[in-house]
Amino acid sequence: MDRDLTPSPIVVDRLTPSMPPALPPDAELLAALRAGDERMFGAMLDAWTPSLRRLARSFVREEPSVEDVVQETWAAVVTGLARFEGRSSLKTWVFTILANRARTRGAKDSRTVPESAVQQAGDAQLLADRFTKRGTWLKPPQNWRDFSAEAVTLSRETAAALEAAIDELPPRQRAVVLLRDVEGVGAQDACNLLEISESNQRVLLHRARSRLRSALEAHLGE
């Protein structure tokens, strides 16, 4: 037989969606940006825009305002880059600009989202329902099907439940838990950024985490 039966060389699938390149550590990133590395700047825009949007939603309610705040933030980053002194991480600095822009915006269209009395009461209620007057468990925590962090993050469904629960937090709690736990911003930086006291920060973080544990319990409890 004349037909060539040798298999054609395997063609590497070039169509797999290319993941955006992970950003390098701060020093390297900053050096690249200051050297005018456009690719790096673009990568930063793409990598951080969703995080910025998510954080902006804790300050302003309307989606067009969220978009405005994110755009203004990036514009301020471009012009401010030369002045960035590296006292915090680059991302924290960008978050700080975002918080400032969002506050200005919120004051302008008075659509900021303050902690409502209902939400405050909700936190007290959350506990009151679970404990007796003597402070012992009325509704003890349920056993979880699986409660390792890996199980929570590896299961798409559970990760989605966690995301949804974060979205439902009162705005200030959401801002604190996003910054501290999800983005890994330090306590002091988070306080400065949100213009809240250390003790207020601690309370908000505590409430957010408690609520999120409850949310996961609803999802994983058996």
Partner: protein, 101 residues
């Protein structure tokens, strides 16, 4: 250390209120001792503590936020203004701010 250091932690409710401070190592020695003593005696609270720790770990391990990028024209404009910064070259070692703030 912080305000919670000298609080009495005896009931389950007290424990849950101090659980994340404990996990973050923010309690003083007295607080930590009280928490450990309580956990030793109370399986409900042990479970609570494990679950809270898993919740925090899951938050810390959450992948970066996903979602659409910037609108094309916005991104283009930002790229243009980033590019134009190069013209009056930025001296990375220059004074941090010569502009009146």
């Amino acid at each position: 250390m912080n305000g919670t250091g000298h609080d009495v932690i005896s009931t389950c409710k007290d424990l849950t209120e101090n659980a994340d401070a404990y996990l973050q190592g923010e309690l003083g020695w007295f607080g930590r001792a009280q928490v450990r003593l309580h956990l030793w005696m109370c399986s409900h609270c042990r479970r609570y503590m494990d679950q809270l720790a898993a919740t925090i770990a899951a938050l810390q391990a959450m992948p970066a936020a996903e979602g659409p990028g910037l609108a094309e024209h916005v991104r283009d404009e930002l790229m243009t203004s980033f590019r134009s910064l190069r013209t009056p070259a930025i001296d990375p070692d220059g004074p941090p701010d010569s502009e009146p703030s």
